[in-house]
Subunit: 370 residues, 3 copies
């Protein structure tokens, strides 16, 4: 089998930096840590760091694995605009589902669309939406009563929602929708003494947002698995969502389990057992680099092939789009070549599954061809 | 090393359908989901579906990976009896340990024995036994006092027991045997308002059954790990049985951890640490198809080689016996060939371990040669 | 890439037996089980048993995989001193960090140093230190008030501390340092009726020891993951330490997560997310034998390469030093050869990472070159 040149849908990503990153900021975008590296270590001495050093230098005219300093020099020489254009242009991604819930010197949605040259669709982050609403709410009651409407309003232009309840509380939430009285009381507690921009961590309001999103019928992306030190990983096992998944099933909403590492097999089980559950394979590949094929293979155990979704979860650096797509393509191609060579799969099925995971499933789920 | 033609003991399986399945029923037997496939997806687009399409068509005179429709046409043309005979006859299984606790158009035990041509031994499902007892019990007291006796009676002809407490409650049960008073009270609560055929979910009675079975000294099979949406997977981690395993040790009963995916390494640890614990590798291979060798390899990390047990957990379709045996044989042969080629194992040890896992361990544990 | 002859630092090990082991004692040192093998099975029919039979016979002039009886005969013929010398001398370990908290016919620290010919550094086991203090304490108050001082005193000569709180309670401990009053009350409860040599299991005192060690600034090794049946494996997931890791961060202490199997990916995540966390890869390789490369590969997913630490966790038998080093060297070499061959890593980086994991990281962390 020759490596297919898949047309990819990146079903979960973020925008890139407008300006040149400093060396420290570049390294900080390649780790989930919130701190400088330990003495004597480097944030680039990781699978992700090595993957960036493999794939990106040639796109800027350098040798793979050249010293990081050379790469950063060349990057600055070309400038952020040119680097964004070259790297984003290399990936073969045709559609980007952009989570617009992060700040920090990023290109806005039109700016990103111009840089990447693809179709860009918005994913609305629920906690951010609530925090904006809280910033301008006249009263707790108005906030409480207005949240569901704000979610419905966002659904008019977004293709899906995202929740980071995993970060803000953990996935061990009460699965039921809270009552109107509970939501009002929680809104009161939250607004009382909240500083401007204060984060939403209240579990009642987090649940209210999840249920409000579910009732729009749009796909609901949930962070699961690893991330930065804001979360407790064992409280991000997607299996903790089982009762929520059951409860939300009658709404007709689809649940997309993002990332999931190291609980990819659990996410695959949920996608297998429940018709409305889908499993993402994004961040887990970028961060595991040379091991991406082995990690992807675990996701391909129980996940029905019509339920697997590609993404990069890239954020800030266009390098993360490059690495995410290269690792996905090579990992998938390697597995399919092995399985067809030994006769376990037919070549026709392998090609079909590659097209589904790379973009077909996402196009159908988010209605991108609609 | 040439692939050994192992004589296999299938230490956990179910009977097959008497009649031709419809296309929908065929697909439904190839998933743990309880629902039609999601829009645009198919229950056959899975590792298990592809494994069936690889191994079974040639046994009916078709090409591997032929379209599912051709296969089902050919299957109907031959008829269920002939298909059962051909597929079951291809496996090399000499002994079947049949869990008789499922209904739904299946061949009865003598009918299955005639179809498979092997020796068939009964595994009695504890919850089913209790539900039958409840259907005819004169009083709660009579039910409570009679359960242990019914279990002892079943032990006269069965070779082992099985519990699906994982489904009915989760494995996070109180490890201790309940008192007689607790059992009587629980039986009263259960019978009170129970519809005919009503399921047993009461944790006190589930524990009473487990302890009654343990006291017979027969091996006790426990469902662990994945299954259909009736269970919560994170409450089926075999490690949740640790305190029960310790408590039951003095009875002399052996505990067999069934399935276990994705917690195979945890099951291997328990089999390693406790002399009376055994680990099954069945369902996990069928459902992971092209990945079966990789999954089996994890079970071969800590599980002592005298503690690993082959099974298919086939149910309804004879195809599942074919796939379960082919994947086990190829997966095991592949690993042993790799390890002997690099000198890590001797060829003699590899052959010995293959014979143990394929049937020798089960023969010894269940006394099949007695 | 040719296999590098790494100069290794064994960052966690125990001493070896002074005298020849019996056949039963030899086998008992190759399992985490506390019992004779199940009927019809052998403690040598495991990955660890096969690894010992592969690597050790040639060092005593026998064929690899010779029958265990021949090996034990030859071992007795040579005698414990000669066997210890030959096997320890074969490993290429230059520095041993010895946990001196175990008894049972082991060479003392000078005796071990003479046998191995390398530099030996002491790791003090906190629970043992407290049990010694309890044996001689005049009063509960004196014990409570003296523990932190005893830890500080030990820090004058030790290079690090070790805790087996995972065994004695589980890692699901309250993360905060207990108050002085709590420590005094706990010491009173413990001493009240304690038999001489009685084990410390009180969670307040376990936490007090952890915090006392952290405040010395020396690295703190914590048992995580599998071990003998004294522990409950699901209560040894390193992720249960997350809140302790956060709480202890300001002390400047480094936390070393030992063993970790099967939670190696979780340990890797913690080492990735927190600057003061390191991940050990020792016992997990010895016990998984032919699978050691696959297990090591999982540790190499998220663990930053400057945070991975080699060890053997050998105890009693010099064979365990041989197996631990051979499996680490071959596993690492195999992975690096694969990754450099496919271009994912540069050869220079691979060499650098091998040197870091084999010893450089430990030298820096424990100040061995100081």
């Amino acid at each position: 089998m020759t490596p297919p040149r898949l047309s990819l849908v990146d079903q979960h990503c973020h925008s890139v930096l407008r300006d040149d990153p400093t060396a420290d900021s570049f390294a900080a975008h390649l780790t989930e840590s919130d701190a400088p590296p330990a003495p004597g270590t480097s944030h680039l001495d990781t699978q992700l760091g090595f993957a960036v050093r493999r794939w990106c230098p040639p796109l800027l005219g350098l040798e793979p694995h050249c010293p990081p300093g050379h790469y950063l020099d060349r990057r600055r020489e070309l400038g952020a605009d040119e680097v964004n254009r070259r790297l984003l242009g290399s990936t073969g991604i045709t559609d980007y589902l952009l989570d617009t819930g992060l700040d920090g010197g990023l290109l806005d949605l039109p700016g990103f669309a111009a840089a990447c040259g693809g179709a860009v669709h918005e994913i609305v982050r629920l906690e951010r939406l609530a925090e904006h609403a809280a910033d301008t709410a006249g009263s707790a009651e108005a906030l409480a009563d207005g949240l569901a409407g704000a979610v419905r309003e966002a659904a008019r232009t977004a293709v899906g929602f995202k929740s980071i309840a995993a970060y803000r509380h953990g996935l061990d939430l009460d699965p039921a929708a809270p009552s109107r009285a509970e939501v009002r009381a929680a809104a009161g507690r939250w607004l009382d003494g909240r500083p401007p921009g204060g984060r939403l961590t209240d579990p009642v309001l987090l649940r209210h947002l999840l249920w409000s999103a579910a009732e729009t019928g749009l796909p609901l992306q949930l962070h699961t698995g690893f991330g930065d030190p804001d979360l407790r990983l064992h409280r991000c096992d997607p299996l903790l969502l089982t009762d929520f998944i059951r409860a939300v099933r009658p709404t007709g909403c689809s649940v997309v389990l993002l990332h999931g590492y190291p609980y990819l097999r659990s996410a695959g089980y949920l996608a297998h057992a429940y018709p409305h559950v889908y499993a993402d394979i994004g961040l887990s590949l970028s961060y595991t680099g040379a091991r991406a094929g082995a990690v992807l293979a675990e996701a391909l155990e129980l996940t029905p092939f019509g339920k697997l979704l590609f993404s990069t979860d890239a954020h800030g650096l266009p390098e993360l789009f490059v690495v995410g797509t290269e690792l996905f393509r090579r990992g998938l191609t390697g597995l399919l070549a092995e399985w067809t060579a030994e006769g376990a799969w037919s070549a026709a099925d392998a090609e079909r599954v590659a097209a589904m995971a790379g973009g077909g499933n996402a196009r159908r789920l988010y209605g991108l061809d609609g």
